[in-house]
Structure formats: C-alpha cells, structure tokens
C-alpha cells in the first residue's frame, strides 16, 4: 500500500485491528477474511456508515448468532467521535447512584476483547488453597474449587470447562424394534427378503433389537438470592445441556415459575442469559418452593413429564413457610417422573446436616441428593445422568436423613 495516500493506509490498519477484536470476541476471523474485507471495501467504496457496516458484515459474519457480537463490536470500534469518551467511561468506576443502562448481551465479551482490561486481581482468600497448589495440578484445583470462590478469570476457565463437558446420551430402551445385526430377535420381514434373494432355498436370518431413545430431561432451577453464587454457572451448564442434548426443558423459579426452555435454545450464551433474565421478574429475590412446585405440577407436569422424563431440581431447599405443602408437592413430582435428582450447593460444607425442616420434607421424595458447587461435582452429575445404580446409591438421600435423625 506504499503508493497510496496516507488516509487509506490507516483504514487498512483499522480493519485489521477490527478483525483482531472480532477474533478476540470469539468470531472465527482469519487473515483471509481480512484480505476479503479490504477487497470488499475497495470494491464497494466507503459510502455511508450503514453501507460500511453491511460490507464488513458480509465478510465477517458467517452465522446468525454472530450478528450480535459483530454489531456490538462495530458500534464501539467505528465510532466517529466519542471513542475516547466511551473508553474513559468504561475504564472509570461507575458511581453507585448513576442510572445504569442494562448491559447488552455480548457486550462484556466485546469490551473485554477491545480493551483487554487486565482481569481484576483477587486476593487469595484461604491459605489452604495455596497449600494444595503445590501438590495438585492447577487443573485439579479448578476442578475442586467452589464456584462461589472463583475469580473472574477462574470463572471464565470454568465456563470453558463446562462447554467441554462430555454429555452421555442417557438413552432408555423403547418397545420399538430396529434392525440390528447383533440383535437377538428375528426380523421375519428382512429374513424373508434376504431369503428371496437366494431364491428361497437358504434361509438367511436377519435380526433386530429394541431401539433406544433419549428421554426428556426437566430442570427446575432456583434463582432466589440465596442461590445467586451458583445460578449463573448452573445456567451456563443448562445452556450447554440444551444445546447438545435433545428434549431438555428448563424452568426457573423464585417466587414464581418461568419456562425458559426457548430462551436457552438461543445459541449465544450471553443472549440466552439476557433473554432468561428478561422473562423473569423475581431474579435473586425470595423463594417459595412449595408454591412454585405446585404450579409446575398443575400446569406443566402433564405436558413435559411424559415419556419417562427425569427431573433435576436445583435448589438449596431453604423454605421457611408451608413445609407441609412442600412435602406434598415433592411427593406428587416424584410420582410423576422416572427419576428425581436434587442437586444442592449446600452440600459443599463437610459438616452439612439435613436439619432444616424444608430439607427434611423434601428429602424422602428424591431418588438422589447430589452436590453441585464445583466442576468435579458437575461432571459427576453429568455422568450420573445415564442411570447407573452404583453411583445412584452413593447419593442416596436416606443416608442424609438418617445422619441428621
């Protein structure tokens, strides 16, 4: 570009920086795309701002769910004026009383990519963690670390680890039969067809076996204030689950019940979470487990609990009022599904005891009682999805009841 005037050179450079920002924000933008973009801009010429956006959009965005990141990045990067102001505003602490607009989905990621803010340093909270660091690998520390104690950077790594979780396809056998070379049941129709091929002299047996199917998974997730340290991580987990597994239904509850199945189907996690919170009126508020379970049982259970569904109930079980109703509704829920797994972050405490009245009302009606406070317990839960009686026994709720009796 040596022969070109100075101004043009800057544009190419800027496009290059923009492409890098996009790459940081997670868009697959290679050097080829940058060259394409330069060529495209040259061909189309720099018209208005919207034209320019359309040109870059045509080159850089390959999927619908990337659009939101691109728009954010474009708006921040190609500000004609006020880029510096924006930068300053982003860097300086926000006054607590200042009217704060809701952060847009994807914007945190874009800002991180553009500004490269160093992640805020966390003070090491416990001497203990430092000690273990000498004995086990960093990966293992991350596995065992409580979600509530993670720094922003550790949390990011935890999210990445969640996205890498291998989900077992927990299939149940149906009564339908499929062709299967190694099956045990004779398939008369195929047998007959095969025999005809040889003129009917030799009978060439074909077999079939029972087909399997992924049964529905229904997740009831507590979003009350007492759970707030874990809700976000768990929603990340649910997003991955919804993305990779068929038939996942998700409901959030605090003081009321919200079905967020559709919101979680959105591919981009930030957008999905934004849609979730837009649909929920009682985020991080109080909790009425009994009442919301009642609503679920009455309105939804017949619609989503058919076909041998499994239910994961994510709550700390700290219900203060209406313990009788809670017990009744748990019983109804338990009777309507194939398996009811309760995951409870309170199990992170070694000295945890099932003393609270709400807990004691709920425990008799669950099949499994599991912890969910770190990556290791989350991986355990995933492994436990494919019903294996040995692992289920290790999480038998009865032993908690007995221990606290």
């Amino acid at each position: 570009m040596s022969g070109q005037p100075q101004g043009e050179g800057r544009l190419a450079e800027n496009i290059l920086y923009f492409a890098r920002a996009l790459r940081e924000a997670g868009l697959p933008v290679g050097p080829g795309a940058v060259l394409d973009a330069l060529a495209a801009v040259e061909t189309a010429g720099i018209g208005g701002r919207e034209d320019f956006r359309a040109v870059l959009h045509a080159v850089f965005v390959k999927k619908r769910e990337q659009l939101i990141i691109f728009d954010q990045a474009f708006d921040i990067f190609w500000k004609r004026r006020g880029f510096m102001e924006k930068l300053i505003a982003l860097m300086s602490p926000v006054a607590p009383n200042a009217p704060q607009s809701n952060p847009k989905a994807g914007s945190t990621r874009v800002q991180d990519a553009l500004l490269k803010r160093p992640p805020p340093k966390e003070k090491p909270r416990e001497e203990l963690t430092l000690d273990t660091r000498f004995t086990v690998s960093e990966q293992e520390v991350l596995q065992r670390k409580d979600f509530a104690q993670m720094s922003a950077e550790e949390m990011a790594r935890a999210f990445a680890a969640i996205a890498r979780l291998r989900l077992p396809q927990d299939a149940v056998l149906t009564r339908r039969l499929n062709a299967d070379r190694h099956g045990k049941l004779i398939d008369p129709r195929a047998t007959f067809r095969h025999s005809m091929r040889a003129g009917g002299a030799v009978i060439d047996l074909a077999f079939r076996s029972r087909a399997s199917r992924v049964s529905p998974l229904v997740v009831l997730c507590d979003i009350s204030g007492s759970m707030s340290d874990y809700t976000r991580v768990f929603l990340h987990f649910l997003h991955v689950l919804t993305d990779r597994r068929k038939h996942v239904h998700t409901f959030l509850f605090g003081t009321r019940l919200t079905n967020v199945t559709r919101a979680l189907r959105t591919r981009d996690i930030d957008e999905a979470l934004a849609q979730c919170s837009a649909g929920v009126a009682d985020w991080a508020g109080g909790t009425r487990i009994g009442a919301t379970l009642h609503e679920f049982n009455r309105v939804w259970s017949r619609r989503v609990l058919g076909q041998g569904a499994m239910v994961i109930l994510f709550t700390d079980g700290l219900e203060r009022e209406g313990v009788d109703q809670l017990g009744r509704e748990m019983e109804r829920l338990h009777k309507s599904c194939r398996r009811l797994v309760w995951v409870n972050p309170l199990l992170r405490y070694d000295a945890f005891q099932a003393k609270a009245s709400g807990l004691r009302a709920m425990l008799p009606h669950v099949d499994e009682f599991r912890p969910i406070h770190n990556l290791a317990s989350m991986a355990d839960l995933v492994a436990g999805l494919s019903a294996d009686h040995a692992t289920a026994r290790a999480h038998d709720p009865k032993k908690w009841l007995k221990a606290a009796a």
Binding site: R176, S195, M196, R213, P216, G306, Q307
Partner: protein, 305 residues
Amino acid sequence: MRALPTSIDDTLRLVGEADYVADRPLATVLFLALKMGRPLFLEGEAGVGKTEIAKVLAQALGRKLIRLQCYEGLDVSAAVYEWNYAQQMMAIRLAEAAGETDRTRLEHDVFSRRYLVERPLLQALQPAAAGPPVLLIDELDRTDEAFEAFLLEILSDFQVTIPELGTIKADAPPIVILTSNRTREIHDALKRRCLYHWVDYPDAARERAIVAKKAPQAGKRLTQELVAFVQALRKQDLFKAPGVAETLDWASALTELDAVALDPGMVSDTLGVLLKYQDDIARMQGARARELVDQVQADIKAHAR
C-alpha cells in the same frame, strides 16, 4: 350413508342427531375438515369428548369407524401392514416342490396382496361400500416421535408406500381424526397437515344439554345442580379437573342413588366418581364440599328469581 353436511348449521344438526352437543367453533372446524378433506387434530384434557367426536361422525354419516389406539412401541407392522410370513414360506416351499425356478415370477407371487395383512391405517385406504371410513388415530401423544413420521404420507396424500409392492392410494380419502392429551408436543410437520382444534370443557348451558341427552334419567333439578357443582369444581385448584365423561358418570351414579337434588353428604361419598387423585378428593371432601354445594344451590335460587 348420508351426504356430507353443506353448512356449519348442517354439521351442528348432524352431530346433534347422534346425541353430540357441539359448540359452534367445533362444528365449524368439523365442517371445514369434511369439506376440505383435511385431517382434524383434536387436543384437550382427558374426558372432554375428543374420541366421541369420531365415533359420532362415523355413526351420523353411516361410515365404518377404523380406530388405531396408539401406544409406546407402535410400529409399522402393527399400524400399517405386515406380511404373512408363514404363508409366504409355504408358498415358496410349494413352488419348490412344483419345480418352479423362475425367481422373478416367484418374488412377484410371494409379495402380492394375497399375503399382505392389513392393519388399521391401510384398511382405512381401502374402498368401502358405505363410502370412505372414519379413521380415528387415538391418543397420538402416547407413541414416540418416530411413529409420527409414518403418518405424514398418509395424512398428506392418503397413500401408503410398501417397498415390495408399490404405492397404495385411497380412491376417496378417509375422514381422519387425530386426538392427543398433550402429554408431549406433537411435531409441527404433522400438525401442519391438519386442522387444529382445542377441545375445551363445555360451559354450563352446553354441559346441561349434554347431561340431558346422555343421562336423561337425571331429573331437571339434579341436572342443573350437578352441572353447576362440576363447573364450580373446575374453577378450584385441582390437580385434575373432572371432564364431561366424569359429569355423565356422576349423573348416572346420583340417579342410581335416587337423588333428586345435591346433598353434601352424598356429594362427599361419591366424589371418587369425579376426582381421581387422592389429594384432590382429600381437599374437596367434607366441609369444602358442603360449602360448594350450598353456594351452588344459592346461586341457582338467586338465578331463578
């Protein structure tokens, strides 16, 4: 055999003659389904009379009713067709014994209509003297999704393709009614081919008419009171509200007990006819039932004045 209705009023009259009290939206969608030759997909709570519609239609039009009850594991050999393997085997052995060596001829003979066992869906495509039959595919939500795919061809083109034999197409399309209790969502691809109707609980006037037609032995006062009671019951916070079928059962139960009007004790004792969950019965029994009966009777009195 009776000709198809020519208007919505005609449809109302038609099902009315067969003792089915339909509301206007249902009659409209029914008329359209018959007129346009499209399958009708009926969804609603258990016991609101979805299956009954198909039965009544078959009876009123003088058509044969072919019913396919769905269940988990239902597959082609149980729903559409199956080959009669034993007879086919025998045919081959006989051909061998007779010294038949032409394989194409043999294959053609063995895979012929003679050895085909027809199941409900294929039966429905066969021409009938009384006109095309009414095909009822009941409780579709009980099958798994894989089965829905078998229905797509039948519902859109009224034909079945059998690989060994070819395509069998209905000369005149059958009247197809599908029902679902919505224990799962049916795929859009299937719904797209049908007209959809949500069958709701009837209002008081219609429910009274239904009871008068189906359980005429119940007196006028009893009918009025029991319908009002059931209507009030549906507004309560219950796990399963009673359907029309339960109302009719209750009407005949109460007449068997020689009741002429509701009395709280008898209501409490016969709640099991209406409510099928222990929690619901426990909630409504005793004082609550008395309260509701009193309220219903007071309402009726106030209305009569």
